[in-house]
Assembly symmetry: C2
Homo-oligomer: 416 residues x 2
């Protein structure tokens, strides 16, 4: 008998039929002798609908009131799920973030979890009751309702799993697991059976949209095993766990891509200490998050600096960049939106020399020009032309044996 | 400077435009120098939509989960109203029933208010902030979310007004006040300027649907002045207050009607002590609320007994009545659904003899047969054929001078 936290996203509880299917699955899990805490998001497009309504009513949206509004969403999905469970004779209780004691800071709209009390959930579980918990929400130290922002429900699930020492945190979503590349552009992508927290973090950070970065960090820091799987098929998905040194790791786990960034280049930057810092600081102060940074070799004590940033933040960066260009005599600013970041991620990379060489050769053979490069110990990212993204992903996927080698493809036993 | 509680029903906050209109009115009240606590219901048909969803998901609806679901409704309307107020530079904060400290019993779906703490609302008001409070909801002694059932938002408003010693509790609705009869069937009905709690109670109990019985009782018990008015016109409405002995009361305030009841007659009831009690007890145990009861004169130690009950409870009463009929030798049960209860209500009735005579004569002149009669000190109700309801109301309205006498019709000054 284990304690399972199961997180169901918006598409998993999108309508009455889906909610009943989820209830059926929880009932099945319960009949196997396990205790279940289900964390739910709002139904399908409910959150979008609430945001649209807020825009219709007012041009200003105080964080406190926006959080009050948005938390109506999970209230619906969680109470309906409990009713569906009651219909199957499964004892269930819904709990809001406040009722669970998910204590956050006061940063409305993107609050951080400070503590999970969980007393009421613990009591209910000990009585054999299924707990259905509202994802995405908490209560601040000032007793205000807060929301956790993007990926909030995943974070709620992981935090609850950590606080209650659950055996596993299952993340149900609309895909069957974490793939070696996006199957929409790489048809030979395969589902990974297991991946380490570090790899998952790098994948999440470079375009793999299955899990929110933040929930993976939380899981890694509290060593909560994640199981990413589909609520549409219920087939086993991908386990995200701590790296086990004894395992034979595949060198490369996946190829990710990201089309959401733009590239900005500043020319004629004086090549002296502190200049890079002043540029980055000015952008940070404007709330712009920059990602890759490349500085070219200095010529005549001048250099060029390129960096990438989310396309959505290009406008916010504009005036900051114009000010900087004016400071640097003869400085110019150029922007390039049609770019793609393509990344190789793999924990085995650390112990395998030549990965970068193979990557660059593969791209060169296709005539794909590399505009920027950045690396970590388990990742290599390159910026290429957006039009060449798909081919780059497909060729790299093949070059690193991901198409052919499929150690995890052995069919797993069906549940029923 | 006064403290006003303003209650806005579902039609008053039905869409974005209506919510902005309400915000505008609150802003106006605030500019007059008053403090405002706004109590809101869920938007328009939101509650019906949530109930429909619950039916779609499950055949059972545990009270705890139903309350969790339904309270999502006010969360939307109250946060949106605060945003609309912020848009007008009015500082506003929304509060759930739990946050206000509206403590109820544990009776989900029809909880009773035990206490209103109101600390957070008091603090916010003292800072000059408009408080927008979720109607219809509370928190039980067991820290569960509860709803107050029918007329719950009115009750929330009155309870808050009593707890915070507000100067008046304004009930905004989709009609302009309390009328001397239903204007849909009596075109010469007029809006009443003032009515006593007792009269309002009798009118609410006999078909006047403007205010929930329960909120009027609460207002009377705590002596909270009510002002019933329309959020569509903002014109002054009807004041519901304690009776003032010094005032010249109109003898009759209004004529109400109710088409929602059915009549049941049991024949051959043994005329001995305790029989009436056993019938009423059997029905009460089956959850059936009976209203008027009439027992005919005994013949051969047998009598007939008639009573009215809501049409919705006829089915529930069926098996109880069949059992009773079997007990009484030769007993039969007959039901009559096409009936109407027509009532005269007026505090002045106490000191004016002959009201009943005039009422019965008026009906007799129209050839309308009276099937049952019941009276209180300030009300006379009769059961007539449903087809004769409209004529009965119109003739009584005229006969008691309500068509002509209109002491309150002097135009009141427009707000702007």
């Amino acid at each position: 008998m284990a304690l399972l936290v199961q997180k169901y996203g918006g598409t998993s509880v999108a309508d009455a039929d889906r909610i009943r299917a989820v209830a059926e699955h929880i009932s099945f899990t319960k009949r196997q002798g396990h205790d279940v805490i289900a964390v739910v998001s709002a139904m399908g497009k409910d959150t979008d609908g609430l945001i649209a309504l807020a825009r219709e009513v007012s041009s200003v949206h105080p964080g406190r009131e926006m959080d009050m509004l948005l938390t109506a969403g999970e209230r619906k999905s969680m109470s309906l799920l409990c009713m569906a469970l009651a219909d199957m004779d499964v004892s269930a209780k819904s709990f809001t973030g406040s009722q669970v004691g998910i204590i956050t800071d006061n940063d409305h709209g993107r609050a951080k979890i400070l503590e999970v009390k969980g007393d009421r959930v613990r009591d209910a579980i000990s009585e054999g009751t299924v707990c259905v918990v509202a994802g995405f929400q908490g209560q601040s130290l000032e007793r205000e309702i807060t929301t956790l922002g993007r990926g909030g429900s995943d974070t709620t699930a992981v935090a609850l799993a950590a606080a209650l020492d659950a055996d596993v945190c299952e993340i149900y979503t609309d895909v069957t697991g974490v793939f070696s590349a996006d199957p929409r552009i790489c048809p030979r992508a395969r589902k990974l059976g297991r991946i380490s927290f570090d790899e998952m973090l790098e994948m999440a950070a470079t375009g793999g949209r299955v899990l929110a970065l933040r929930s993976v960090e939380f899981a890694r820091n509290h060593n909560v095993d994640l199981h990413v799987r589909s609520s549409f098929t219920w087939e086993p998905g991908t386990w995200v766990t701590a790296e086990e040194g004894s395992m034979e790791e595949p060198i490369i786990s996946g190829v990710t891509h990201d089309l959401t960034e733009a590239k900005v280049t500043i020319t004629n930057v004086p090549d002296r200490p502190g200049v890079a810092a002043s540029i980055v600081r000015a952008l940070a102060d404007a709330g712009v998050n920059i990602d890759m940074i490349v500085q070219s070799t200095s010529v005549d004590a001048k250099t060029d600096m390129s960096f990438t940033l989310p396309k959505t933040e290009v406008t916010a960066s504009q005036s900051v960049l114009d000010d900087l260009a004016r400071e640097f005599e003869g400085g110019t600013i150029s922007q390039e939106s049609d770019i793609a970041k393509v990344s190789l991620v793999g924990a085995g990379m650390k112990s395998s020399p030549g990965i970068a060489a193979t990557m660059f050769e593969t791209l060169a053979n296709e005539g794909i020009n590399i505009q920027m490069i950045s690396t970590s110990t388990i990742r290599i990212s390159v910026i290429v032309d957006a039009a060449e993204c798909d081919v780059a992903v497909q060729r790299l996927h093949a070059a690193f044996g991901l198409d052919a080698v499929d150690v995890y493809s052995a069919p797993l036993p069906e549940r029923k």
